[in-house]
């Protein structure tokens, strides 16, 4: 859910990077953080608990301007690596305005992508979010791996049609296109 700060004249939206372990969620966040001008982004914050680590930072997208005089701000979250605790996965999605699902194009990890995606849908549903009317962008990451899975194969396996983008996050390819796509979907959804 967006959050309005009247004092700061800001409206913030939460974007969560979700996906199976080692799919490149943290790399995506790092690349976005690196490519933003310093005056437009906050510090990369790492929240450590005994069980898990959450990465977070916020930024002002220049190209999306303002909504009714309020500066648009995005808060980006991810839990790096494999998330062992169901509760953490679920909690991260609370109040999210959009999700980027980072899939691993390695054919050996196909099933992990599918089960992580299904879990995400279940978790969203537990917050009364209709996943078919919710901004989700599917990123096919690691397109440079051998025998990369076919684009479209995941959507078929999960029976959902969502916008998808090819990426090689380690090289920065497709990273900004992904964040731009999800941001626009969120703003368009809010302004309807």
């Amino acid at each position: 859910m967006p959050y309005i700060s009247y004092d700061k004249k800001e409206i913030s939206f939460k974007i969560v990077y979700y996906g199976p372990g080692m799919s490149g969620k943290t790399t995506n966040l790092m690349q976005i953080h690196r490519s933003l001008a310093e005056n437009l982004r906050g510090e990369m914050v790492s929240l450590d608990t005994e069980e898990e680590r959450t990465l977070f930072f916020d930024f002002f997208p220049l190209d999306l301007g303002r909504i009714s005089g309020y500066a648009v701000k995005f808060n980006l979250y991810t839990i790096p690596g494999q998330v062992y605790y169901e509760a953490s996965r679920k909690l991260m999605l609370e109040g999210a305005d959009g999700v980027v699902f980072v899939a691993d194009s390695n054919p050996h990890r196909f099933d992990r992508n599918v089960s992580a995606y299904e879990m995400m849908i279940d978790n969203l549903a537990s917050y009364s979010v209709d996943p078919r009317a919710f901004p989700i962008v599917l990123q096919y990451n690691k397109r440079d791996c051998q025998g990369a899975i076919e684009k479209g194969s995941l959507e078929q396996a999960i029976s959902m049609d969502v916008p998808s983008i090819n990426a090689v996050a380690t090289e920065g390819k497709g990273v900004m296109e992904t964040i731009r796509t999800i941001s626009k979907m969120i703003i368009e959804g809010f302004e309807i």
């Binding site: 859910m1 967006p2 309005i4 009247y6 409206i11 609370e94 009364s128 809010f190």
Partner: protein, 255 residues
Amino acid sequence: MALSGTLSDLGIVDLVQFPGTGKKTGELVIAGLDDEARLFYDQGGLKHVVCGDHSGLDALVELVSWEEGEFEFRLGSTCDEASMEIDLHRALMLALKTRDERREEARKQAEEAQKIAMNHHPPAAPPVAERVTQPPPAMEDLQMTEILSAAVAHFPYIEYAAIFHKNGSKICIWTPETVDEQVYNRIISGVANVFGTHPRKELQKVYLTDNLGTCLGSAVGENYLLFLAAGDDSSLGVISIAAAKICTAISGASE
């Protein structure tokens, strides 16, 4: 289960948003200084708002100005009525905007009313001590022209002199011969602009020099500016001394 607190702990804008974040269903009751407001949420969506005699967005507009009061959130409480058709956050932004517009309108009306009242009852003249630094606006233009002419007569190199208000409106001009008024008007409005936009608001002097001569703008009290133009044969120091003496003459004459 109920969650309660006061508006000094949690501001109204944050409070109204919090059931939305957790997708809560329930009733938020806020007891303000004069009225009571009730907001009903269904899975985080704002469905119905009542505040005194108002309902819907109108009620929200009333509510967003509240700074004092106590609240309680009653989880699970529902209501059959529905007065809100737009999303909670857009409704909140709209309510804040409407509130701000109404405040601005009220402020303008109050200003207008004050202006009208001032015209009917002009304020008493300020004490003498105050008038030294702030010449009264009622100063006669004719009298000012005389003072300016007498002061400028000591400085033959001055080609043009004017006293104007800091808002750019001219009060009087002195010039020994026909000059291109328009050129000076443009410079004067530029100088007034510099004084008006200077971030520290206490600018004393502005010098403009080119190969034809020097122009100077100097603050006289809090409201007026002296503008002088001299040919290229006069130095910055000379024109600065002239400005200081003319300023003293103007301030002294208004005592």
